[in-house]
């Protein structure tokens, strides 16, 4: 590829502008919508940063749960003291709440894309409420179990049950924290293109994370139900 000799300051432009760039082809540059390219140019902000960051974070959280669920499967086969507990009915409510919250956050994100800031914050609030409802429902499920005399140390199944719900709950609280940040800091349109890209990038990242929390819970719940 013949690269013309260009003075650096001529090449600098904001992400939205596009235009010919002396960029080599390589697989890491996916086009992410209206703006041009995910490739950074070092000193400029590229909105893909938040998305990449959240996917990388998801990779590491997934590995944590892969480790814990592998331990669950190994432990279930390693002795005869494995006693599944009666699953609290409330967990179905939790599951319903978090599934619906995935829909509401998607609606919220799409409202932002359509520049409807009112709907964006409304649906964000709905999502936070549903997320908080999920956490409360999980806590009540714990209380139910404690009333039945099922504790962390009762048997390995209950140990893993409390561990999974607690670990997932903590990560979900992180998600609620992120959504609260969005509500406090990103509900108003920003003046600059860069500010808008950051706003959309942050909302995208939080949405991806929230869907992951939803999927993770469904996976853990299924494991707890079907691998008893």
């Amino acid at each position: 590829m013949a690269v013309t000799v260009t003075r650096p300051e001529q090449i600098v432009d904001v992400g939205l502008g596009g235009g010919p760039r002396p960029r080599d082809g390589n697989g890491f540059h996916k086009n992410g919508g209206s703006h041009d390219g995910d490739g950074g140019d070092g000193l400029n902000f590229s909105p893909a940063r938040y998305r990449i960051g959240v996917w990388v974070a998801i990779g590491s959280i997934l590995m944590l749960f892969v480790a814990l669920t592998s331990a669950y499967i190994v432990r279930s086969a390693s002795s005869n003291d494995w006693k599944p507990i009666a699953m609290p009915k409330l967990l179905w409510l939790s599951t319903a709440l978090i599934l619906v919250s995935s829909i509401t956050i998607e609606v919220s994100r799409r409202s932002l894309k359509r520049n409807n800031n009112g709907a964006y914050s409304r649906w964000l609030i709905n999502t936070v409420v549903l997320g908080a409802g999920f956490v409360v429902s999980q806590l009540f499920a714990w209380r139910q179990l404690v009333r039945q005399g099922v504790y962390m140390a009762s048997n390995p199944y209950s140990s893993f049950f409390y561990l999974f719900t607690a670990a997932h709950g903590l990560h979900l609280l992180g998600g609620i924290f992120a959504l609260t940040y969005l509500l406090l800091r990103t509900t108003k349109k920003r003046a600059t293109i860069d500010g808008e890209l950051r706003r959309i990038g942050a909302a995208d990242a939080a949405t991806i994370y929230w869907h992951f929390m939803d999927g993770l819970w469904v996976g853990l719940f299924a494991l707890l139900i079907f691998w008893r």
Binding site: P8, Q10, D38, A48, R49
Partner: protein
């Protein structure tokens, strides 16, 4: 258009106050130096522990006044107890692996140079970067607390107030179970021996905190490299250092969560009464362990080594990257087989996830899985050999400039081969049955992951010091440091192989009672003297490091005549690295001795057609790999 982006160029303005500038700094360069200083402090603790161990092995019953003062219970009369020795083994390993070999290569040099080498003004998430250092630092403090919680009755008394499982003050300097913390003994609490109460709890908490810090760092490295490369910095034009840091970050990202998960389970076994790892019917220290049943100690080994094996590559890959970079620079030749080097890094990193079982050959695993793990382990020899071959190819026929960083880089190659070759011995089940838990294993991993990685970091320090501090380190002191250290580490670890062949077991506090080891005492003594000399000569390095910071010869922008982006900017670099200018890259990272070029090196930023004759104009365009010329 240039004006439009200027507000973005300074994403965070240069700080003015002392605290924002040097303590809670967002600047990746300051954070990198903080990591390096943390490693330089931690390694002193680790080295003192190793000398104490050697002294005990060679001259059992040595009276040390300071030990009596600091640890009146662990070293009554200044003479260390066997349990004290075991806790030294544990803490030496933990400190060295986590707070030296993981912090300096990746958190230190990676943090400082990855953004500059790809032409970025900082990491992708500066706040996370700052948090990653301070979280790691807290982890180190908690580990130091473990030393005093067990070793000092007063501190132990305070810790004991946290609950029964935090009983401390048992007269060791931490847990006695080794850095691998195998259950069931690590899961039972103080009944399992001195140091196994508060010591193990604090040890687990420290490592869990460390995991979180490393994960924040890895997240930042990966995002930065994928998202913030400057114009023209295609993946195949990156310096090999960046490839190494990138691969290391991926390994950390995928392996540390597994250790974190295992650590949580272990801690719950200790403080919440669960039985993940504790089997039923255990009889320990004269009594039966109540209330636990059915756990699997092997489960911990699987989780631990799934992390533990990638961890050794986390330690050494940055050293490989630095070595490739430095060999090429001082051989004045392109890296031989750049693409092969990149793929070999990935192959080593990838295979590293499928070989953890070779740490468990004697655990009673199925011989069929052992064979699978064995074959996968031996296959790591292939990418390792590719790398070694290419390093030699880079040196072949070169007019080498024997500077101190070059000497250490060559030393790295030597140590990597010497230590790696015994990996092929230990990777075979039949041989490992004999060598497991002998000094042969200790020799293997010290040479290949310990000393080789450290040589990579010494090379990196001497090489990048002028960029970091604007002054050169003293060459004569550096060469003196190199030769004594190089000969010293071989004098320490080659005899270890012989001890292993004799069947000398690891982790024993003394060998006096064993008839079959009576004749090896002179060997033990020789190693101890070599160790003391080698440790002592590190004082020269520390002196050189801090003295040169203020009194060294002033370095220009590019004292080594190197090609990569960090050498295009002032030493030390300004706050946002490139002073608001976006660097544009036209060349691969290793264009040395290009025919027809006026100099024997072409900077990555040199516009094409200016430095080269017209006939070579297209040599390093799309995907230029640096050795086409």
């Amino acid at each position: 258009m240039a004006e439009a982006t200027h507000p973005e160029v300074h994403r965070h303005p240069a700080p003015t106050g002392f605290i924002r500038k040097y303590i809670f700094s967002l600047d990746h360069k300051v954070i990198g130096i903080q990591y390096i200083l943390l490693a330089l402090s931690a390694v002193v603790v680790g080295m003192i522990m190793s000398v104490l161990m050697r002294v005990n092995l060679s001259w059992p019953g040595t009276h040390l006044k300071i030990m009596e003062t600091l640890f009146p219970q662990g070293a009554p009369g200044g003479v260390m107890t066997p349990e004290f020795y075991l806790s030294l083994v544990t803490m030496h390993g933990t400190i060295m692996v986590f707070f030296v070999l993981t912090t300096a290569p990746q958190g230190g040099f990676g943090n400082y140079f990855l953004p500059i080498q790809i032409g970025a003004d900082d990491m992708a998430f500066p706040v996370l970067n700052m948090m990653s250092f301070w979280v790691t630092f807290v982890g180190f403090l908690v580990l130091l607390l473990a030393i005093f919680a067990e070793g000092n009755a007063t501190v132990g008394g305070w810790i004991s107030k946290l609950g029964e499982s935090f009983a401390g003050g048992s007269g060791t300097v931490g847990p006695i179970g080794g850095w691998t913390g195998y259950p069931p003994l690590s899961a039972l609490g103080k009944i399992a021996g001195p140091g196994q109460g508060a010591g193990v709890n604090l040890w687990i908490i420290s490592i869990a905190i460390f995991c979180v810090g490393s994960l924040l760092g890895a997240l930042n490295f990966i995002t930065t490299l994928l998202n913030m490369r400057t114009r023209g910095m295609s993946l195949m034009r990156m310096p090999l250092t960046c490839w190494a840091w990138f691969t290391t970050a991926i390994l950390a990202l995928l392996s540390f969560p597994v250790l974190l998960g295992g650590g949580i389970l272990l801690l719950l076994d200790r403080i919440a009464g669960t039985s993940f790892f504790i089997p039923g019917g255990l009889y320990v220290s004269g009594s039966t362990v109540p209330l636990h049943n059915g756990g699997s100690p092997l489960l911990w080994q699987h989780l631990f080594w799934f992390f533990g094996h990638p961890e050794v590559y986390i330690a050494i890959l940055p050293g490989m990257g630095a070595t490739s970079h430095i060999l090429s620079t001082f051989a004045r030749k392109p890296v031989f087989g750049y693409r092969a080097m990149v793929f070999a890094i990935f192959a080593i990193g990838g295979l590293g996830f499928f070989v953890w079982g070779h740490h468990m050959f004697i655990s009673g695993m199925s011989p069929y899985s052992a064979v699978a793990f064995s074959i996968l382990t031996l296959s790591i020899g292939v990418p390792s050999a590719i790398k070694t071959f290419n390093w030699l190819g880079t040196l072949w026929g070169a007019k080498i400039r024997f500077t101190t960083p070059m000497l250490f880089a060559i030393g790295f190659v030597s140590l990597f081969v010497a230590g790696g070759i015994t990996g092929l011995v230990l990777g075979q089940t039949s041989l490992d049955f004999f060598f497991h838990d002998t000094y042969f294993v200790t020799a293997h991993f010290h040479l290949v992951m310990g000393v080789a990685s450290i040589f990579g970091m010494f090379a990196a320090t001497y090489f990048w010091f002028p960029k970091m501090f604007g002054r050169m380190m003293n060459e004569s002191l550096g060469k003196f440091h190199f030769w004594i250290t190089f000969l010293g580490v071989y004098a320490i670890f080659v005899p270890f192989h012989a001890m292993g062949l004799l069947g000398m077991p690891r982790r024993y506090a003394s060998f006096g009672e064993y008839e079959f080891l009576k004749n090896s005492h002179s060997l033990v003594l020789f190693v101890t003297i070599a160790a003391i000399i080698t440790v002592a000569v590190q004082v020269v390095f520390y002196f050189n490091f801090f003295w040169s910071m203020f009194k060294g010869k002033v370095a220009g922008d590019n004292p080594w005549e190197a090609t990569t982006l960090e050498w295009t900017i002032p030493s030390p670099p300004p706050h946002d690295n490139f002073a608001g200018v976006v660097p544009v890259v036209y060349h691969g990272a290793y264009e040395f001795s290009v025919p027809g070029a006026p100099n024997d090196f072409i900077m990555q930023t040199e516009p094409e057609g200016v430095a080269l004759g017209a006939e070579l104009g297209g040599a390093s365009g799309n995907g230029g790999n640096g050795h086409k010329a």
